[in-house]
Amino acid sequence: MHSFGYRANALLTFAVTILAVMCTMASFSDNLNAPSPTADVQVLNINWFQKHPNGNDEVSLTLNVSADLQSMFTWNTKQVFVFLAAEYETPQNSLNQVSLWDGIIASKEHAKFWIQTTNEYRFTDQGSNLRGKEFNLTLHWHIMPKTGKMFADKIVMTGYRLPEEYR
């Protein structure tokens, strides 16, 4: 009852429970934040658009991404992971989400940004359905806390379209 092992166990369990309560309170404080992000993406250029020998389409784009995510940062924010995904549907697939670019924002100062880049990851279809395809570009962000619940949200931008012909 009063052995070393029993006491060590009780102490450790109590300490971890207190830690858990503190983490929960820290995480809860994130709910009091009301973020107001803005974002805009333009497709500056279609660099090339080809069909691979294996039958899959692939396109390379140059994008202009600008966003202001400063309102997401709280004292409990470790970093914000932001990525841009193209979403579209095809006769074969009801949903396709292909990530084109991502970045890690480590501090509030860097959260208001403007970048021009070609797609970091390959925009490849399962099949050959991309000609003339309409797609959405969605900017997702995941707020990774120092401790606790992770929040994620997105802005969907519609109205983009791929060329009718390969080039």
Binding site: L12, Q92, L95, S99
Partner: protein, 134 residues
């Protein structure tokens, strides 16, 4: 694991044939087939240059499917993983602390409040012991 569908951006825990430790990476690409509902996922570690096809997946494997995925991350509990690491590397501690029931199995949310924050397969459960002995 909650029933909501896995979309790009979700961080998932998955097993790869040939590896004994599960990997926790983010889904970057999703292709869901019409009709069969079969879904192919591609994952990538946030800090890695390339996706998991180079080095993480089994040789020849291009996609993950639902049966590979065992969990999804919803939160972080700092340093909680150290306990499993210590126990794995120094099994003697398990033997000494006979009164400390640390199981290698599933997390039980009812026992450990903070585990409700994380459906990761961090495998620790503590018992909050009441004073039943006089």
């Amino acid at each position: 694991m909650s029933k909501s569908p896995i979309h790009s951006g979700d961080i998932v825990v998955f097993n790869v044939e040939g590896r004994d430790i599960p990997i926790v990476h983010r889904v970057i690409t999703v292709h869901e087939r019409r009709g069969t509902g079969e879904i192919n996922f591609l994952t990538k570690g946030d800090n890695n240059k390339g996706d998991d096809r180079n080095g993480i997946y089994a040789s020849g494997q291009q996609w993950l499917q639902h049966h590979h995925i065992i969990g999804r991350v919803v939160g972080f509990l700092p340093y909680a993983g150290w306990v499993t690491i210590i126990l794995k590397e120094k099994p003697v501690i398990k033997e000494i602390s006979g009164t400390l029931p640390v199981t290698g199995k599933q997390v039980h949310p009812k026992d450990f409040p903070a585990s409700a924050l994380c459906t990761l397969c961090l495998k620790i459960s503590f018992v909050w012991e009441k004073d039943t002995v006089h």
